[in-house]
Amino acid sequence: MPEPTHPSADLGEDKDGRAVRRDRNVQLAVNAARELFEETMRVPTIEEVSIRSGLSVRSMYRYFADIQELSDEVVRLVHDEARAVSTLPDPAGISLADRVEAIARLRVSLYEVVKGTFLANAARLIVSGEPQPAGAAIRAQMLRQFSNQFAQELLPLDETERRCAIESGHALCTMEFVDILMRWRSMTSDEAVETIKYGLTKILTAV
């Protein structure tokens, strides 16, 4: 994160101007790349980002070693935004129905934020077979959020039941599943929320 510096010395001012231009251009490139991710659902090429952003390929390579470095930057930006919309209230005192509703809505709106990079990343993941570290951290966080929100339902279960409820319930509100509902099954956000809610309620309700 660049610190704002004092525009005191002449030399400093010159440097600042360059730094500002650089930051602006980096920002332009990242935004253009993100747009392309969302439109094409795959990792764009440096050339495509150059055309979209209006920056020359030469400057692109000055700012980023390769497309991997640029897409990592996009992924970081998307993750920051995702984190900002990912919080749920303390589950204590909230009814199961309300907690189910809240997590289902949250995960569907989260999908809208991460869609482009998620899909491009998934495609790359499928092809390379290598999990992205950032994605793994987010998935672990989502699993913790699920277990935390439904701790009072999960706690009384025996080990096998609990595992089943956590794994299947968590799976139902992963990005992969929202993706299936919205892209493959062509549901609206509300329909996707309803489907997830129904499944979660059943899985979390004691028989």
Binding site: T40, M41, R42, A123, I126, V127, G129, P131, R139, T160, E161, R163, C164, A165, E167, S168, G169, A171, L172, T174, E176, F177, I180, L181, W184, R185, M187, E194, T195, Y198, G199, K202, I203, T205, V207
Partner: protein
């Protein structure tokens, strides 16, 4: 008019040709499973012992070869995924049948699923390739749970069948296996448990 000896010779050629094509496609499938998703004609030649020359006679290019290998797995997956007497028997048995079938299919197609994604980089092609199998899977799922589904009102019917269908998709097994690192036995338990809860009517 061809003499009998000529025709038998040409049959022998056809047979050898078919055997070789099958061998090449199987080899390509092994390579998918090992992580080589779009093998070249030379890769398959090296592994199978067939000459690149004959492979180029059988397949126009690597794309065609990979596509045919994927098609072959897909056809086999249909057979592996089949359930006898769909929708008949107690719920627990039917859940067990469909879960076992889907895990079995996943084991066979996992490599070629990845190859499919590698081969069809654009959204539309990928959706086209997967749509048929998605449809058949949904159909099987609604038939298998017809006794439970038919008791539900329309809104519940949609929710239950979508939830079951989702849990039984290859993507779901992929998430549980690849991302969550669960064994196939545990995956079967997790899926059966969840389906039982989703399909058991509220008392």
């Amino acid at each position: 008019m061809s003499s009998p000896s000529q025709s038998s010779r040409s049959d022998g050629r056809t047979e050898r040709r078919d055997d070789n094509i099958l061998l090449a496609l199987r080899t390509a499938q092994c390579l998918f499973d090992e992580g080589m998703l779009v093998p070249s004609i030379e890769d398959v030649a090296n592994r199978s012992g067939l000459s690149p020359r004959s492979l180029y006679r059988y397949f126009e290019d690597r794309q065609t070869m990979v596509r045919q290998a994927i098609d072959l797995v897909t056809q086999e997956a249909y057979k592996l995924g089949a359930i006898e007497n769909t929708g008949v028997g107690p719920l627990a048995t039917r859940i067990d049948e469909i879960v076992t079938a889907r895990v079995r299919v996943y084991k066979t197609v996992a490599g070629s699923l990845r190859a499919t994604a590698a081969l069809y980089p654009t959204e539309n092609e990928l959706v086209g390739a997967a749509n048929r199998s998605l449809h058949l899977k949904m159909l099987q799922c609604s038939r298998q749970f017809e006794p439970e589904l038919s008791c539900l009102d329309e809104r519940e019917h949609v929710a239950v069948s979508e939830a079951c269908n989702m849990l039984l998709m290859m993507e779901s097994i992929h998430v549980l296996h690849h991302r969550r690192g669960l064994s196939f036995d545990t995956i079967a338990d997790v899926l059966s448990g969840a389906l039982t809860k989703i399909l058991t009517p509220e008392s």
